[in-house]
Amino acid sequence: MSTDDMDALAPGDEELLNGLHRSVAGAALATSAADVVALGRRTRTRNRAVAAGIGTSAAAIVAAIGVLAPSGGAGAGSGTAYGALPHAGPRGGALSGGSDPGGSKAVPPTTGTQSPALSETGFVLDEQSDGTIGVTVKTLFDPTALQAALDKAGVPNVITVAQIPDGWDMSRGIECTPESGVRPAGRVGGEAITLPKGPTHLTLVVHPSVIPAGDYLTLTQFQSHGQTKVTSFGLYVGRQRTCVPQHSVGSTGHDFG
């Protein structure tokens, strides 16, 4: 029997598959070729840098975790962090935007509507007329850029990118080891930071007027070999200076994928 014969389907079967085809007919990917190429180029550059041994050995990477964050560390206390979102892919920044402090849209632009220039820093920040700040975070390439944008918007913050040690058991979660004096802000955190329904990527709505003095929006993005794995965030009392990873939950037997 030839493969031509094998391709033949009963009319009813063909109809079923046609129905499946029709179920998404007309759907189109808005992302431009230029954006995809830019994303691929960035990723390749990062991968080459990692392969070339920047940070040299894994031990050096682990040792460097505590000082990686240009803006100080972030805390995410076990069972008390406000949230942690794993990311869809190694370069979730594909669809990310850059700083746009003057923006007025409640929802950040979606795929294909962003210029390549907005894909560099991995976030979009939109100040709303009601005083809230929309923050959409993808893969952060330069945490100081987000920190500066939030500072300018009047949001006290600690933004950190931390590297996940090789071999880390992600089934037990990951968080920064809380430093002395740093603790979750409690109920006010849920008022200061909300998560609107919307796209799958991480979008926070920050209410600066609700944030008590001495509290910080603390956001830590855990990355591995240039890929964003988890972003944790919350409102914390005190400023976390460094991020030394620790497990956040008990082991469930899964390996880090």
Binding site: T31, A94, G257
Partner: protein, 171 residues
């Protein structure tokens, strides 16, 4: 622009929508499907010299996107519940306003298929690959593809009938 980039862009323009539809049908979340597809194409660009020699480069893209989705889902499943209630639900609703009830039922049935059957259906239906090309893309024998396809169709049909019966009962 070099020849490789021109090749890739021609490939991208010719296959972006079919690949996107294949991923969308499988994950049923438009935003996620966009991210996964763009990500997979970016990887294809990064490995274009290798991918262009693949028996079916579009199949490589779709499989990469769906594998990324599996990894994402495994992580999300075990990490999202991390005190999510403090600030409200983190779970997102599928963003696909255009789909009809039948469309959603078909896609739900597709997602319930075993991975290999689902791959065969996706490559066959959305990339319009024949049995031989599908087999080459998956690295299996043509007979295996045919077997998976027939089992998949049988399972899809059964799932849809079950859905219809449930709807009849609820009316």
């Amino acid at each position: 622009m070099d020849r490789g980039s021109e090749d890739f862009e021609a490939f991208y323009e010719g296959h972006r929508d079919p690949c996107f539809r294949a991923v969308l049908a499988t994950v049923s979340d438009r935003h996620l499907a966009e991210e996964l597809t763009a990500e997979a194409f970016a990887r294809a660009w990064g490995h274009w010299r290798k991918v262009r020699r693949h028996p079916a480069p579009a199949a490589w893209v779709v499989r990469t996107a769906l594998n990324t989705h599996i990894s994402w889902w495994r992580r999300r499943r075990r990490e999202v519940p991390w005190d999510a209630a403090t600030v409200g639900a983190l779970e997102r609703e599928p963003a696909d306003d255009d789909a009809t009830v039948v469309d959603l039922a078909l896609r739900a049935a597709l997602r319930k298929l075993p991975a290999r059957q689902r791959e065969v259906v996706v490559l066959r239906v959305f990339l319009d690959l024949d049995t031989r090309s599908t087999a080459a893309a998956l690295g299996v024998a043509p007979g295996t593809v045919q077997s998976h396809l027939h089992r998949a169709i049988k399972a899809l049909r059964a799932e849809l009938e079950e859905t219809n019966e449930r709807e009849e009962i609820t009316r």
